[in-house]
Symmetry: C2
DNA sequence: CTGAAAGCGCTTACAG
DNA sequence: CTGAAAGCGCTTACAG
């Protein structure tokens, strides 16, 4: 079954292909009768324009490029959930690009540009400032609208959507301090994510403001390795509270502590900064800053549609609200 | 900065655009000297062919379409991890399409076809046989190679990659029976996933083979709702073992049981069928069938590349091996 | 081995 | 309101 083209439709409706094209793109410019006739034929033939040809002719692919580091990360897939829902609503297709540690950044960017995407959603939060600059320069040269989605990069004024991780962590830390805790540790990752960097900063500021010593502890994010790290860490330190940049880290910390005979929250309290499903399945359940990941995705995609449409956007650096969910791990 | 086209390269290298095209697509057909000259210019100008134009002219988009129901599901994002790694290796771009409960299936398929993908990876495991038939007919009409990725559909002979969920669950159930358990429940979901259907079947068969009564119990997959369901369930039934189609269900079951004063594995044992991170973070840790989700994704993408290349494939229905990981919840 | 030309399936000024 | 024609940036027979 050969695919039906615009010529087939034009033939069957006895109009020129230009008219068929207009019916699809500027229906108001064509007479109601002919329009209805064409629409009927389109329906009968199940015609759907070849997106590639349309893209080439109009120089708009109606496709956004989504650049991720590791798609299997839970936060990333939640972001994608929000992105795809909105993309579908605005009829944008989504192309996925991965840019992992070993990737040649320039090569990936060149490919994204070659794929003719109309806009870019950048979700890779594992780059340092230098690498980010390279990426952003490339995008600006290509003149493609971009939105940073849950990625923090303050060196340039790039449209972005996230929560204020620094403030969120500051607030969380302050709450613990107000509960009378002094030996508050922050469990971060060895790997430096742009968001975690801000979490660390908020934590450190809160500690310093209270005249306390910041105590940052870095672990591999790997759950099975964590337990070993934590073993020694718990035995060798006097701990009153732990803030983990990732919920799974908080949970494995709790598990290790309990195995060693401690009680949470009695001996020390533990909090997370994401509010994933881990927080609810953990025992005790985990108090968290609730990061609205789905919303961050949805809002970035919405922002990108505006930028691609050339709409005026008065505030292109969107900071979403967050709140703290109190659960058993701090009670 | 206007994008550099094949004309720019041809001009700078003082050859025709046909030659430039050949250098990129059939380098062996062009004289080494001219080839080197062209390659040098390509590098200098940072030229990368417009994928859209190339797609239109060659009638190959070098893009695969990935159809998912809900991307934020952990298993789905793990599959995608495997898919993307292999796609990148074979230089295929990936376009993502969502087909949720409310989607107009035909409309989605029409869009996928309109996007001119060279192949389709179908990951939506939430359709019934009738819907699946509709989808598969549409794909066959369009003559696009397809691979079912972790989706079970036996009505037609469609290329697919998965594990034998029926056998895996049969084996797991049998192990529990051999441990002397009789009142073995299967906790499945209200929502009918194609894979879960096979898990239920394997379970029922094992129970019947042992002369035991199958006891299937369906819960919403929702973690917060689960606890309430489980509360009553545990109080009203005599339970010796529980097999959960999803790890998170197993974990919330364990949590509920412990809250009610039971001990796992002393009072009853619990197992999962996925082996996600939940299984390791749970206390007690969860015995599981280990489903190699990343591999399923990677192997399907590899299979699809073969089908797209028109290669002879002797076995297009691939069944990957699995194994059982024994942990605390059954010891 | 290389170039001129047609064509992929659309969109979009330009006439009328 | 409608059609004829050029063009989007490539690929690919066809000559030579």
């Amino acid at each position: 079954m050969a695919k039906t083209t615009i010529y087939d439709v034009a033939g069957a409706a006895k109009v020129s292909l230009a008219t068929v094209s207009r019916v699809m793109n500027n229906p108001e410019k064509v007479n109601k009768e002919t329009r209805d006739k064409v629409l009927r034929v389109i329906k009968e033939l199940g015609y759907k324009p070849n997106a590639i040809a349309r893209g080439l002719a109009s120089r708009k692919s109606t496709t956004v490029g989504i650049i991720v580091s590791d798609i299997s990360r839970a936060a990333v897939s939640q972001l994608l959930g929000g992105i795809l829902d909105i993309a579908k609503k605005y009829e944008y297709a989504a192309k996925l690009f991965t840019m992992d540690e070993n990737a040649d950044i320039k090569e990936v960017m060149r490919q994204v540009v070659a794929e003719q995407v109309d806009g870019i959603l950048f979700l890779n939060d594992e780059l340092d400032n230098e690498q980010m600059e390279m990426v952003m320069n490339h995008i600006q040269d290509a003149q493609i609208p971009v939105v940073l989605c849950n990625v923090i990069y303050d060196e340039k004024d790039i449209p972005s959507v996230a929560i204020d991780y620094e403030k969120a962590t500051y607030d969380m830390t302050k709450e613990l301090i107000e509960k009378g805790k002094k030996k508050i540790y922050l469990a971060s990752t060895v790997h430096r994510y742009s968001t975690n960097y801000h979490k660390v900063r908020g934590y450190e500021r809160a500690m310093q403001d209270a005249g306390l010593e910041p105590l940052v502890f870095r672990t591999s994010g790997d759950v099975s390795v964590n337990t070993l790290h934590f073993d020694e860490f718990i035995k060798n330190n006097e701990i009153e509270a732990v803030i983990a940049v990732r919920d799974s880290i908080a949970v494995s910390f709790i598990n290790t502590a309990i195995r060693l005979g401690y009680k949470v929250p009695d001996n020390f309290i533990v909090v997370g900064l994401q509010n994933t499903k881990y927080a609810i399945l953990s025992r005790p359940t985990l108090t968290c800053v609730d990061t609205p990941v789905y919303d961050i995705g949805a809002v970035s995609m919405r922002l990108l549609t505006k930028l691609m449409a050339g709409e005026e956007v008065n505030d292109s650096r969107i900071v979403l609200p967050y709140h703290i969910v109190e659960r058993e791990s701090t009670k």
